[in-house]
Amino acid sequence: QQPVQSPQAVILREGEDAVINCSSSKALYSVHWYRQKHGEAPVFLMILLKGGEQKGHEKISASFNEKKQQSSLYLTASQLSYSGTYFCGTVPISGNTGKLIFGQGTTLQVKP
């Protein structure tokens, strides 16, 4: 039931692009993306809803393929501040109480 994220880790140079994927075996109502820096709380980045509504944050964008139950987070022209662990949280349609089921995380390191 837990969504699967890929890759597990990414190392980038400043200015490079990255894509983080999130895949679920369940039909989804929404996908939420968070970034967590070491020792800090997860910070909300993005929510994608069934039906295509999208909200954004800074220079980060995302897509949601409802048929495949997959979401991708796109980080373009990465900055040092993008370093951290990215989590997707999924809200299944079935038995929906709104609770988020988080993936295992993708660690992103941006180097100068």
């Binding site: 909300f44 929510i47 709104g98 609770k99 988080f102 295992q104």
Partner: protein
């Protein structure tokens, strides 16, 4: 706007001892969540409140964990007795009165629990 507040930030206890965590959500947020985050993993929901009522506690180990949300505002999470495997960060989150399933959840800084 003040964020989600949690205390204490750190706690070290011996196994079989009890411990309690406190959370104050963002003002006006009706929904409150407690998550457990083990090192290297994503947060796992323990319990979800809507105002005073419990919406989901299916993953709460009820033999040792308990939680309450009095008056629909602050919440406490208790572990009694603690086990070594309870070592984790306990995160509290809240979302607005519009409620789930599309609501943004805002997280507090968490309480890092170490059980020796």
């Amino acid at each position: 706007e003040a964020g989600v507040a949690q205390s204490p930030r750190y706690k070290i206890i011996e196994k079989r001892q009890s411990v309690a965590f406190w959370c104050n959500p963002i003002s006006g947020h009706a929904t409150l969540y407690w998550y457990q985050q083990i090192l290297g993993q994503g947060p796992k929901l323990l319990i979800q409140f809507q105002n005073n009522g419990v919406v989901d506690d299916s993953q709460l180990p009820k033999d040792r964990f308990s939680a309450e949300r009095l008056k629909g505002v602050d919440s406490t999470l208790k572990i009694q007795p603690a086990k070594l495997e309870d070592s984790a960060v306990y995160l509290c989150a809240s979302s607005s009165i519009a409620g789930p399933p599309a609501d943004t959840q805002y997280f507090g800084p968490g309480t890092r629990l170490t059980v020796l």
